[in-house]
C-alpha cells in the first residue's frame, strides 16, 4: 500500500495511492495525480544525515564520519510532490539531494539494530535542497541552508515497509529537465537504516511520523528557476519539484494567504 496526504477543495485528506498516482479518498472518490495538491506524507521531525555516502563525503572533501552527522529539519520546511521550491536571489549554488527516507511507525527508544526495521512504517523520498552560499560553520549545516520555506520536498507517498525487500539495495537518481545528473545506490550508505534507528533511539525517543533522511550520494549540481528536478528511489517513488525565483515564490505564497 501507498499512503499520501493531499489537499483537495480546501480539505486535507489521508489517501491511498493507486496506479499512475491516482488517489482514493476515504469516500471512494478517485482523483488523478494533477487534481490534488500533494503534501508531505508525514509531519514529524526529520533527522537528516550529512555525509552518509563515502563518495559524497569525498566530493565535498571531507573524511567519512565515524559517527552519524545528524541535523534536524522542522515541518515548516516540508513541501509535497509537484510543488515549487524557491531559489533565493543572488546566490551562486543551490543543489538538490536525492534521499531515501525511513518513516517511523511506532515509538522507538533503545531499539537494537536487529529489531530496528520493525519500527519503520514505510519509506518515502525527499529532496534535501541546500543553499551553499549560506553555509556557516556553527551547528553546520545551519538552518538558513537547510530549513527554508518549502525547500524540502517529501513524497509523493509512503510505501509500506513490506513492499521494499531490501532498503539497502535501491538505486537513487536525480534528473534536471529530463537529464540524469545523479545516480547512486543505498548500498553505499556509511550508516544504514537499522544502525541509524539504533543510534538515534539510544539517546532519544523517536515518534511515529518522524523521518530519517538517509543522505545523498555524489553528483550534485546547481539548479535555477524554471528547472524541473525529479528525485527517484527505485521501487519507492518519484518526486517532482520545480524551481522558481524568489519573487515568484512569494507572489504565489502571498496570493494563497490572501485567498
Amino acid at each position: 500500500m501507498k499512503h499520501a496526504r493531499i489537499r483537495y477543495q480546501g480539505e486535507v485528506h489521508n489517501v491511498a495511492v493507486e496506479d499512475n498516482n491516482a488517489v482514493r479518498l476515504a469516500d471512494g472518490t478517485l482523483l488523478a495525480e494533477d487534481q490534488v495538491e500533494w503534501l508531505a506524507p508525514a509531519t514529524g521531525s526529520m533527522f537528516a544525515l550529512g555525509l552518509n555516502y563515502a563518495d559524497h563525503a569525498a566530493e565535498l572533501a571531507f573524511k567519512a564520519p565515524t559517527e552519524p552527522l545528524v541535523f534536524i529539519k522542522a515541518p515548516n520546511t516540508y513541501t509535497g510532490h509537484r510543488q515549487i521550491t524557491w531559489r533565493p536571489d543572488n546566490v551562486a549554488y543551490m543543489h538538490y539531494e536525492c534521499e531515501l527516507v525511513a518513516v517511523i511507525g511506532k515509538t522507538a527508544r533503545n531499539v537494537k539494530r536487529e529489531d530496528a526495521l520493525e519500527y519503520v512504517a514505510g519509506y518515502t523520498v525527499c529532496n534535501d535542497y541546500a543553499i551553499r552560499d549560506y553555509l556557516e560553520n556553527y551547528y553546520r549545516p545551519n538552518l538558513r541552508v537547510k530549513n527554508r520555506d518549502c525547500t524540502t520536498p517529501v513524497g509523493p507517498y509512503i510505501i509500506d515497509r513490506s513492499q521494499i525487500a531490501d532498503p539497502q539495495n535501491l538505486t537513487l537518481r536525480t534528473w534536471i529537465n529530463g537529464e540524469l545528473r545523479q545516480e547512486g545506490s543505498t548500498k553505499d550508505m556509511i550508516f544504514d537504516i537499522p544502525f541509524l534507528i539504533e543510534y538515534l533511539s539510544s539517546f532519544m525517543t523517536l515518534q511515529p511520523g518522524d523521518m530519517i533522511a538517509t543522505g545523498t550520494p555524489e553528483g550534485l549540481a546547481d539548479v535555477v528557476p524554471g528547472d524541473e528536478v525529479v528525485v527517484e528511489v527505485e521501487g519507492v517513488g518519484r518526486l517532482v519539484n520545480t524551481i522558481v525565483s524568489e519573487a515568484d515564490f512569494f507572489a504565489v505564497k502571498n496570493a494563497a494567504v490572501a485567498k
Binding site: V70, I72, A74, P141, N142, R144, N147, M204, Q207
Partner: protein, 249 residues
C-alpha cells in the same frame, strides 16, 4: 493574562492562572494533575545570544579551523520529545557524565510570520514563557547539537505564557536559575546579542513561523551542572517560575 495548559482527569484543558498561581478553567478554580507545556509548535533555539557568553568564546572561534566567529544567528531545533511541563521531571540519561540547566526567555509566536520587518516583528509575538534549555555540556559548536540537546525531557517550558501586552519591555527582564533554592545563574535579557525583533525578522526571511512556535532566545554564560534529586527552577521577572526535578533514567 497568564495562560496555561493543564491536565485534569486525563484531559488537557486551557486554563488561565491568577496572581496567586491558581489555575482557572472557565472562571472556576481547578487543581491540575499536571502542567503541560503551554505552547503547541516547533521549538527553535538561538545559541550564543548573550553578549557575555559570545565574548567568552570569541578567542576560540578566531582560532583554527575556521578562524571566524558566527556572522548570523546560530540556530538549532529541539524536537517534540524534549518538551515537558512545569513540575515535570528532567531525566538524567544513563551513561552520561553531566547535564546542564539553561535558563531562557521563551517567545511564543502569536500569528503566522513570514518576511516580517524588525519594525513590525513584535506584533507577531503572542507571549512569553520560561524555558529550561537542558543540554549535555557542549564541547564544540561546529556540528548540530542533536545528541546534546534533543534528549527526552530536555526542554521544560512554562508554567504559563504571559500575554505580550503584559510585558512592558522583554529586553529588560531579570533571569535566574535556582538549584535547590540557591541562585546559581543571574543575568538580564538586556544582554542579548540580538533582540527579539531582530531574531524574528531574520528567521522569517527564510522560514515561516506558525502560531504556537517557540523561540528560545538564548542561555546566559555560566552553565550549571545539575544532578539527580535537584530541584531546578528558572525564574524570569514578570513571566514566571518554572520548576522541575532531576530524576535518574
Amino acid at each position: 493574562m497568564r495562560r496555561a495548559m493543564i491536565e485534569v482527569d486525563g484531559k488537557v484543558l486551557e486554563a488561565t492562572v491568577d496572581d496567586k498561581g491558581q489555575a482557572l478553567v472557565n472562571g472556576q478554580a481547578v487543581k491540575p494533575d499536571a502542567w503541560k507545556a503551554p505552547f503547541s509548535g516547533t521549538v527553535f533555539g538561538i545559541a550564543l545570544n548573550y553578549q557575555g557568553l559570545l565574548d567568552s568564546k570569541i578567542a576560540e572561534f578566531n582560532q583554527d579551523p575556521y578562524k571566524t566567529p558566527p556572522k548570523t544567528p546560530v540556530l538549532y531545533i529541539k524536537t517534540p520529545n524534549t518538551v515537558v511541563g512545569h513540575e515535570g521531571n528532567i531525566v538524567f540519561p544513563a551513561g552520561v557524565d553531566a547535564i546542564q540547566a539553561g535558563p531562557a526567555l521563551g517567545v511564543v509566536i502569536g500569528k503566522r510570520a513570514s518576511r516580517v520587518s524588525e519594525a513590525e516583528a513584535m506584533e507577531y509575538v503572542g507571549g512569553y514563557t520560561a524555558v529550561n534549555e537542558v543540554t549535555l555540556p557542549e564541547v564544540s559548536f561546529y556540528r548540530p547539537a542533536v545528541k546534546a540537546k534533543c534528549r527526552d525531557t530536555f526542554c521544560p517550558v512554562g508554567p504559563v505564557v504571559v500575554d505580550a501586552a503584559d510585558i512592558a519591555d522583554p529586553h529588560a527582564l531579570e533571569i535566574k536559575l535556582l538549584v535547590n533554592g540557591e541562585v546559581r545563574q543571574q543575568n538580564s535579557t538586556a544582554n542579548f546579542v540580538r533582540s527579539i525583533p531582530e531574531l524574528i525578522s531574520f528567521l522569517s526571511q527564510f522560514m515561516t513561523f506558525e502560531p504556537g512556535d517557540l523561540i528560545i532566545t538564548g542561555v546566559p554564560e555560566g552553565r550549571v551542572d545539575i544532578a539527580v534529586g535537584d530541584k531546578v527552577e528558572v525564574e524570569i521577572a514578570g513571566v514566571g517560575r518554572l520548576s522541575n526535578t532531576v530524576v535518574a533514567e
